[in-house]
């Protein structure tokens, strides 16, 4: 399990949070309970299994929704 923190462009609508949450949760290899979209900090924190999914995949699932990802940190 790895832990990714993605810094997004400023989020402004609470429904964006729901969209991003659902999009990230729908990826295989993502620990669904760990998905945490921080509205005010405009960050996504997520635990994932790096044999099944990469941080790049997670980033892509968010950018295709139309939100810019500014920085990705994996630990």
């Amino acid at each position: 399990m790895k832990k990714a923190t993605l810094q997004l462009d400023t989020l402004t609508c609470p429904s964006c949070v729901m969209k991003i949450e659902n999009a990230v949760k729908s990826l295989d290899g993502v620990d669904k309970d760990s998905v945490n979209v921080l509205f005010n900090a405009s960050k996504v924190k997520v635990d994932f299994d790096d044999t099944q999914v990469s941080a790049g995949d997670i980033e892509k699932s968010i950018t295709t929704l139309g939100y810019d990802v500014k920085k990705v940190q994996v630990r």
Binding site: T10, T12, C13, P14, S15, M18, K19, N22, A23, S26, L38, F39, N40, A41, K43, T64, L65, G66, Q73
Partner: protein
Amino acid sequence: MQRFILSKKKPITFISAVLLVIAYTSHYGFGNEQIASWAMIIASILGVAPIAIQAFQALRVKVVSIDVLVTIAVIGALLIGNYEESAVVTFLFLFGDYLEQRTLNKTRSAIRELTEMAPESALKLMSSGDYEEVEIDGVDVGDTLLVKTGAKVPVDGTVLTGEAHINEASITGEPIPAGKAAGAKVYAGTIVDNGTLTIQADRVGEDTTFGRIIELVEEAQDSKSEAERFIDRFARWYTPAVLALGFIVWLVSRNIELAITILVLGCPGALVIGVPVSNVAGIGNGAKNGVLLKGSEVIHDFSRTDTFVFDKTGTLTMGNPQVADSIVYTDEPEKIRAYLSAVEKESDHPLARAIVSYLGETEPYTVEKTDVVKGGGIVAQVDGRRVAVGNAALMEKENVHLREKGLKDIDLFQTRGDSLVLTAVDGELMALTGIRDQVRPGVRKNLARLKKLGVKHLVVLSGDNQGTVDLVARELGLTEAHGNMLPEDKSAYIQELIAQGRTVAFVGDGVNDSPSLALAQVGIAMGSGTDVAIETSDVVLMNSDFSRLPHALGLAKATARNMRQNIFIAIGVVLVLLSGVFFSDWMNMSIGMLVHEGSILVVILNAMRLLRFKLRN
């Protein structure tokens, strides 16, 4: 294409506005309906494009968002030829979105200022022997770094060489720079006022004290209370329900106009955003003023606190006790002092340290069979004699004969407010030492402020003797004082208060009272940003400045009130709009959208007041 349109939201909003102006001037000014209609249609289609894209993206991940409702409503209005409604609604929605973004950024600014204080680069000693500037992520534990005047300390570390004055306001809130030399600890995010240091990195990135603080604040501003989670769940079903309602209304009445009006009016905007903005603004104000509030649940509990329990040493007092009185009952005082000093050197209790520093240089003795009696003191073998150093309870346990003179002196010391340390050798009282701890400046005034804010009970708990504690309580205007308490007595006492139905806040320095901090509904750590205190408590007063406490309570109350106001506004608006639709004939989509966007701005602006919150005496 999609991303292009989304990135051009601002110009689209502007063009929509221009088109609306053209439409209205040609309609009212020249009576030219043709131009007016076309301008409205173009404005609608242009404006609905980004909204529709967002709606589509939401539906793909199975979310019925506000965008979905608005898109359907606008398309519906276009189909029935109501171009004015569709144009005005899209414009208002986009413009509202823009204003929300601007104002939301303001409410978040306080916390962003804090996170922007995080260091970004460091001068690292490379294998070549030169220092090179590297990204902060490229620094590892154990690296040697160079920090010059004006630079930020990039990590938590230990000074290797050099001397400097460092402004540690970002960690301790202390504005006066602290002098640092080899061996001293330095903290990430603090700024070198003057001087140059080389330091060794002990903790980097998110593990530094500053990193922890930022993470806690970020999580706090997004943490949700029970009520908020309820609203979230509610919103998840609410929007689809509005969509269904609109559809049913259309099926029954065959009135598209009415159906799409319901879609617009039913948007849940102010409800979902109202509480989070109050939360972020309140926590932001705190962060700027050295008060860390860990989330909206904490704010809720804190705002209802009626009982404050204080630890004495280090909280109400400076935690820097000094010997005030001393009596020796023996004809060999030098020897007794030497025994006492030797035994007290075994302990790092603040009272012991005060005695050691008071006695200064003494004849050295070896101490054997040291036994620390919890809540009592120390018993040890020195120079072949049994030496007991501690409080009255320990003396009783050791069957020490106190004699009349001793008892009288004990009384005298207690009425002066001294903490007592008795020294017995082979069962005879040999020395009596009275130690006093200075009360923190301004405590009395700030406790009075707490009372003014509606706190009924101010309690002090201490391991000190009752006389001392009573004196402090009288001096400071506390309502209750309990002495002779062990750490477990303190937590038991707090448990009892909670069982009585009180909402209890415990204020301590986080050193030996973490059970109480954890147990109280609100654990408030007065620390200079020590790790334990930050972790176990709910509220951290970043600097040991007692005056932050009333501010923190006032802020919590104001934030809780602000949240209630926002919920009230949001629900009120929806009720007014829906009843307007059914019971009046002036209600339409445009008015609905205007009121709706207006209410979102009202709740954000209302929350913004919290950024300027200041406690009026």
